[in-house]
């Protein structure tokens, strides 16, 4: 009886989770009357708006990842090495993006950096792009910070740093040649999460009025019939690919990890 109940629960969960996906997938294939086809996907791919916004978001995601790594890795390194007492504080700070709604953050940005402020970032497209990237980096911060922090916890940071220094390495070399390669897997999983977040993000891009993929998704949802379903399926596939890449990266890392 108990077994049946637990199987029933699992079955319900699977249906609850996958049925909408299956429905959406099925719907996205029905653009041509009477038969299944990839017309909706073809239509999406052929849409220059799609190409532009998707390309923009991919580029922003990559820039955000680089920016995030450049900010987070040295910071975590320094805090762990020299200011370990600040770690609880860092934990708290990096959790804030999870509890402060993005809309609050972006209104704060607009207030701080509007055209009549001391640093009018929103005055130019490039400045706004930069602001958007910073916003994305903030959204990804909780994940990036935790990934890198866990990665650094696994190595003997202080001794490795000193060993490298005694061999003639300066801070940049220590970070680039010793620290980063040893936390690469952690950084990669942080990077894929960042990518998944940035690709689907709507609030920041919409309010800063940048041509990103998130607003395009919403626009398409309101103006087309079959294409939004195709887009949703594609976004899902992309996110899942990111998750799988994280798994793969973790597996790949076994090569250099201590077995003890």
């Amino acid at each position: 009886m108990k077994r049946i109940l637990s199987w029933a629960t699992i079955g319900f969960a699977v249906v609850y989770f996958f049925l909408p996906l299956v429905g959406m997938l099925e719907f996205s294939l029905k653009m041509r009357r009477g038969e299944y086809s990839l017309d909706a996907y073809r239509s999406v791919m052929g849409d220059p708006q799609f190409q532009a916004t998707f390309g923009y978001s991919v580029l922003m995601a990559c820039l955000t990842i680089v920016f995030g790594v450049l900010v987070v890795v040295p910071t975590v390194f320094w805090v762990r090495l020299k200011l370990p007492r600040l770690r609880p504080f860092m934990e708290f700070i990096t959790l804030l993006p999870l509890v402060i709604p993005p809309i609050v953050i972006v209104f704060g940005y607009i207030r701080l950096f509007n055209t009549s402020s001391w640093l009018p970032l929103t005055g130019s497209a490039l400045g706004t792009d930069f602001l958007l990237m910073c916003g994305y980096a903030v959204l990804a911060l909780p994940y990036m910070y935790r990934a890198v922090d866990t990665g650094l916890a696994a190595i003997d940071l202080a001794t490795l740093t000193e060993a490298a220094q005694s061999l003639g390495a300066g801070w940049i070399t220590v970070l680039a040649r010793v620290i980063l390669p040893n936390v690469l897997v952690a950084v990669l999983s942080g990077a894929f999460l960042t990518f998944a977040i940035v690709i689907g993000e709507y609030v920041f891009a919409a309010l800063l009025d940048r041509p990103a993929f998130g607003p395009y998704l919403v626009w398409a949802g309101g103006n087309k019939a079959y294409e939004p379903a195709a887009l949703a399926v594609m976004t899902f596939a992309l996110t899942w690919a990111c998750m799988m890449l994280i798994q793969l990266a973790t597996k790949f890392s076994k090569h250099t990890r201590m077995p003890r």
Binding site: A164, S166, L167
Partner: protein, 355 residues
């Protein structure tokens, strides 16, 4: 001036003064050990030399050049850590070549030097392995090769053998010493293991509470300890009380029996001084009649006998306390049984007078 010269080094962490005016000169090619109990500041001294800690006062000079203010990566000093600290993402060869790569040495030259270093440490075939594929002893040898590859001016080792098991520890001792001799590199070796310090070093610095109590050759340190601390920390020691009868001529009485010491004593007539005896200078005699004949001898009852192989450690109860002594193993003479009544003898010249 010595090749490596530490003068008046001090280090405080907050109100805690860890190193108090430390002076040491190390000649070029010399192997010097810092020996002392846990927390006496050995590592701190070494880290100041390496540049990882800034001295509160004092100066560090290498080859006449003041390096006190230099950053660690400018000093060209090799360091070997207790925890090996090999870079886990690099192969053995890449680890050894790390310092050369940073120094901008060409790939060809680096490869040659790495091969030379791996041959020196006896691991010529291991270049392609990763650190986690090596045993602890092999990892530590790679760490040594990595430190030596860029031809540092000074080599520092902080308890490099402590994490290894006993057998490898002993064999690596002589290996490190051989390599050090071969390269003629000026070396400071930190340890709290006196056997290590005595067996490996040209000179030993015995540290106590942030100071160097005595600096000397192992023979000197062991046989002529300068302070009570050095006498007690290095080797096993028996202590006895004696009453001074003639300070200038070094005459005392122990348990009422006169004893002529090899040196004058800095104490007044009738004062009590502490005498110390190494276990190997005390002899056992079966003939207890010695005691009544007037030669110096103490009546003793054997309290315990530990057979250690080449050496037999005996503890004997005397009126002056328990005295430990070492006998050499002899197949034709079994050790005395526990409880046997015997006589203990030693020569006045072999006694260390504790200050």
């Amino acid at each position: 001036m010595a090749y490596l010269d530490l003068s008046g080094l001090q280090k405080s962490f907050g109100a805690n003064q860890v190193v108090k005016s430390f002076d040491l000169g190390v000649a070029k090619g010399e192997f010097v050990s810092l020996l002392g109990p846990s927390g006496c500041g050995k590592t701190t001294v070494l880290r100041m030399v390496a540049g990882f800690e800034t001295p509160t006062a004092g100066a560090i000079r290498i080859d006449g050049q003041d390096v006190t203010g230099q950053r660690p990566n400018q000093r060209n000093i090799g360091m070997v850590f207790q925890a090996y600290a090999l870079f886990p993402n690099l192969t053995v060869a890449q680890n050894v070549g790390f310092g050369l790569k940073i120094a901008g040495v060409s790939a060809k030259e680096t490869a040659d030097r790495v091969a030379e270093m791996l041959a020196l440490i006896g691991l010529p075939e291991m270049g392609a392995r990763y650190p986690f594929q090596l045993s602890g002893g092999q990892q530590q040898r790679v760490a040594l090769a990595r430190a030596l590859a860029p031809r540092p001016r000074v080599l520092l080792l902080d308890e490099p053998l402590s994490a290894l098991d006993a057998k490898i520890r002993v064999s690596l001792r002589s290996e490190i010493r051989d390599i050090q001799r071969k390269l003629g590199i000026t070396t400071i070796f930190v340890t709290h293991d006196q056997e290590e310090a005595l067996s490996m070093s040209d000179r030993v610095v015995v540290m106590n509470g942030g100071r160097a109590d005595q600096v000397g050759a192992p023979f000197e340190i062991y046989n002529h300890p300068a302070t009570r601390f050095v006498a007690q920390f290095v080797g096993t020691l028996n202590t006895l009380d004696a009453v001074v009868t003639n300070a200038a001529r070094g005459e005392v009485t122990v348990q009422g029996q006169p004893l002529q010491l090899g040196q004058a004593i800095a104490a007044g007539q009738g004062a009590t001084v502490g005498l110390a005896l190494r276990p190997e200078v005390v002899h056992l005699e079966a003939d207890t009649a010695l005691i009544s004949r007037g030669d110096f001898a103490l009546a003793a009852r054997i309290a315990s006998v530990d057979f250690l192989g080449a050496v037999i450690r005996v503890k004997a109860q005397t009126a002056a306390g328990v005295i430990a002594l070492d006998l050499f193993n002899r197949p034709d003479a079994p050790p005395p049984p526990v409880g046997a009544e015997m006589a203990l003898r030693f020569r006045g010249q072999d006694v260390i007078v504790l200050g």
